[in-house]
């Protein structure tokens, strides 16, 4: 192999690994039903925080190197380049998306109905808040799915969480 191309491969591999790591490491650490250690969680949050920028830069660098390497690469190396670039692209895209909200969709504009019009069973559990005459109920069955709701009650912005 040409020595210059060798250097390019040595650059391509770490650039691609950075993009992959910045998405997959936090995704692996903050996965449901697993234990999160304090240091693991801190690492996950810091990677996730910088992931949109880091994965973009790393993906662009790996793409440029892959394009240069492509012409002279053997068929098997082309397969490696293409596969790695696919994973890099997934990492860069996923770092910009909140897949937790794919599992538990947010309520973008909450709608309310009068207590008298609600079809809720009287034994159904609700979270309730009251500011002056503004009394609101948030059925737990709904909140256990959405988890977070940004609301304004009597002018006070509140986060309803469950």
């Amino acid at each position: 192999m040409h020595p210059r191309r060798n250097i390019l491969w040595f650059l391509f591999v770490p650039a691609a690994l950075v993009a992959i790591a910045w998405f997959f490491i936090p995704a692996f650490i903050i996965r449901p039903f697993s234990h999160q250690s304090p240091s693991g969680l801190a690492l996950a949050m810091s990677l996730r925080q910088s992931a949109p920028l880091i994965t973009l830069v790393a993906a662009l660098v790996s793409l440029a190197l892959a394009v240069i390497l492509w012409g002279a690469a053997s068929k098997s190396r082309k397969i490696i380049l293409a596969s790695v670039m696919l994973v890099v692209a997934i990492a860069a895209v996923m770092s910009r998306l909140n897949y937790f909200e794919w599992m538990f969709h947010p309520v973008d504009s909450p709608r309310f109905e009068a207590a008298s019009a609600s079809k809720l069973d009287k034994g159904e559990m609700i979270l309730a808040i009251r500011y002056g005459s503004d009394a609101r109920a948030y059925p737990i069955r709904e909140m256990a799915y959405h988890h977070v709701l940004n609301d304004v009650v009597a002018g006070v912005p509140v986060a309803v969480t469950y």
């Binding site: 925080q49 609700i126 309730a128 977070v148």
Partner: protein, 269 residues
């Protein structure tokens, strides 16, 4: 539940992850990470900031409706109605736990009511509360009244202090009529279920007037012998018109409460 104004800036939160089964949220404005149970920013530009707790209740819809005149209920989002789990309580209780505290007398998924006063925290096992309500206790020198409502599912915590004096509370009629039905049916909550059905036959009746005419669930205090409703307000007697101060409390699983309150004690009697 939290207010979401920090340093004069209104934040908008979204679900961002999970930390030992207590969820993490981030705010759109700064991207900081917040722990749901503590309301504290644990990472990002606002790290160290705290949200203010909103006094909230965990009630049955029936209890709430009987208390408020014209309340509003969060409507189901049609797109996601199918995702709502009507059996959430039992289903969540079956989920695996990833942290445990062996050597403590409660099991990870035991439900507790947790409260914290000036850094001193205590957990009240839900089963104990249902059996013994109203529970009178003292945490960090503060006299407390922990009451499970007439429906056996709603709860509230108050400072059991009337006009600056400590007071104790007991269920009115507990030693008379209810004692018989308790003996027959076995538990207090089962006994009060009868009253609940009777009260809900007339859903428009407001709590106060309902309690005046047919006091199905009324507390009496030892200091003034006034009658109190589940909202913590005196409906007759010398204290009539007064309401007890509320104490924030959280219904939670033992493992989660213990994880964030390592020094918590457990109520026993």
């Amino acid at each position: 539940m939290w207010t979401r104004t920090v340093n004069g800036r209104v934040l908008h939160f979204y679900l961002a992850g999970i930390n030992n089964q207590n969820f993490l949220m981030r705010d759109k404005e700064t991207g900081s990470w917040w722990q749901q149970i503590t309301g504290k920013a644990i990472y990002g530009p606002l790290r160290g900031a705290s949200l203010d707790l909103v006094m909230s209740d965990e009630l049955t819809f029936g209890e709430w409706k009987s208390e408020v005149a014209d309340g509003k209920v969060l409507a189901p989002v049609p797109k996601y109605v199918k995702k709502y789990d009507s059996n959430w309580e039992a289903d969540v209780a079956k989920l695996p736990v990833v942290i445990s505290f062996p050597g403590t007398e409660l099991k990870s998924r035991d439900v507790v009511v947790g409260l914290e006063l000036d850094g001193t925290s205590r957990a009240y096992p839900w089963d104990t509360l249902v059996k013994q309500s109203p529970v009178i206790d003292r945490v960090h020198g503060v006299p407390l009244l922990i009451a499970v409502g007439p429906d056996g599912k709603s709860f509230r915590v108050f400072k059991s202090r009337i006009d600056g004096k400590d007071a104790e509370f007991f269920l009115k009629g507990e030693t008379e009529v209810d004692a018989k039905s308790t003996a027959l049916i076995g538990t207090n909550s089962a006994a009060t279920a009868d009253h609940k059905t009777a009260a809900s036959a007339n859903p428009k009746t407001e709590a106060v007037s309902a309690a005046k005419t047919a006091p199905s669930w009324t507390l009496l205090d030892t200091a003034t012998a006034s009658e109190w409703n589940f909202q913590g307000c005196a409906i007759s007697g010398p204290s009539q018109g007064q309401c007890l101060d509320r104490v924030p409390a959280l219904k939670d699983y033992w493992f989660d409460w213990r994880n964030y309150h390592p020094d918590t004690s457990i109520y026993k009697r």
